[in-house]
Symmetry: C2
Subunit: 228 residues, 2 copies
DNA sequence: CCGAGATTTTAGGTTAGCCTAATACTGTAT
DNA sequence: ATACAGTATTAGGCTAACCTAAAATCTCGG
């Protein structure tokens, strides 16, 4: 069952497809070809074509006109890429002076090029971390992944003090903006006010007050914090 | 003249061709297509085809049936790859526990994937080294390279004490063997005897004696050492 | 200086991945 | 129930890089 099969090596673009499908639906709900096309910036027919090849290789199941789901083998391969990506991000931030908002594209290329050995050495140098600089959980080498419960900042009740645990955003410009507000995983914020429309929330970070709109409010995921 | 042109990005295989041609002839003597084919494990017709494309892009000059020479632009691109390769090797040995005999293939993949920024960060972390773990000089970011004079171990006179400065070999198995003999850049050896045939030399490494054959004798390059 | 053998190039074919345009399917709204 | 809007797939093409087989060119010994 859990035989650690020697995979035939996957191409870069296959790895990207699998990771994208996983990210569109970590829970395994079917993903549509156009969602995939959109995420990878490809045309829908290209995705249909690749999806067909991947399902022949047993990495996913495709019901025409209905969508695509990863098989166990596909999910394993996808989680492997997620692990690589997040460990590389963590390594670059810790050892090569990257900021957590600029590290994504570097990891995007390296995740395809680095050997298993090197990944595990980087993990070791980091002390086998369980989250990356964005606060996203790093899958273990065996493919297990531990998602911690969290709540969107937009949904935190007024008066409550929470710790930002994940920043769910990949556009560099937005990430720079978020960083410039002093918001990042580990920071504590208090929701001091909420506008009745548009999900606007006012938060207190240290001594500063910020107003946060809907999109950002959903990108910032928080763990509820027990008051000291 | 020395305008730092923004290159259109080169593909992985173009980078490999340029590096190969440079390595076949750092001095600029023409390289034959079959030498290139041999080094890259490709068929000669494939090389002819690529060479044609590259000469159209101004990266090399090709005189049909005669051979190939890098242009200035081609040499710059090749040296850039050599710099990347050697810095990556040095980084992996220094920070990720690689041994100098196993680091080559990892670098071979990473050199195509790493950004300029990351290369310079690695160089910084290493203190801008001038040689890699094999003792090969690392070209500067501006493309200048400093080759230090050295002599093959086979040609060192009897009785002389020298320091191994470079190990010119890329096959992992041979490198492991060399490492197992305790031979690596920085080690001092004394030539104690020489057989009149086959370039066999007997050397003293610390307290051990070794007999070295022709191929190894040419792979080990030495700087003459002033006796203390 | 001529031809045999080695080297190189041309000719023609394959594969992976991408594209656009045209066609087929789905589901919803009348 | 049906037509229409939206989404997905098929059809047909392109490019980069590779390959093998055949033709062209070079080199060197006699």
């Amino acid at each position: 069952m859990s035989a650690a099969v020697a995979h035939e090596p996957l191409t870069r673009s296959v790895e990207d497809y699998l990771k994208a499908i996983y990210q569109l639906s970590p829970e395994g709900r079917p993903a549509s070809t156009s969602e995939i096309a959109n995420l990878l910036a490809l045309s829908p027919p290209s995705v249909t074509g690749m999806v067909k090849r991947l399902s022949e290789h047993g990495l996913l199941e495709h019901v025409p006109y209905r969508g695509v789901q990863l098989t166990d083998a596909g999910r394993r391969a996808a989680l492997r890429m997620v692990r690589r990506h997040r460990l590389i991000e963590a390594y670059l931030v810790e050892f090569l002076g990257y900021s957590w908002d600029t590290v994504h594209e570097e990891a995007e290329r390296l995740e395809h090029a680095v050997s298993e050995t090197m990944i595990e050495r980087m993990a070791g140098a980091l002390g086998n971390p369980s989250v990356d600089p964005h606060g996203d959980p790093i899958p273990a080498a065996d493919g297990s992944i531990l998602e911690r419960a969290c709540i969107a900042l937009s949904d935190v009740p007024i008066g409550e003090n929470v710790e930002i645990s994940r920043v769910h955003e990949s556009q560099p410009e937005r990430l720079r903006y978020i960083a410039s507000l002093g918001l990042r995983p580990g920071v504590q914020v208090t929701v001091v006010d909420r506008q009745p429309f548009d999900d606007l929330v006012t938060i207190e970070v240290g001594t500063d007050k910020q107003v946060i709109g809907r999109e950002l409010g959903h990108a910032l995921l928080c763990a509820r914090k027990v008051k000291p």
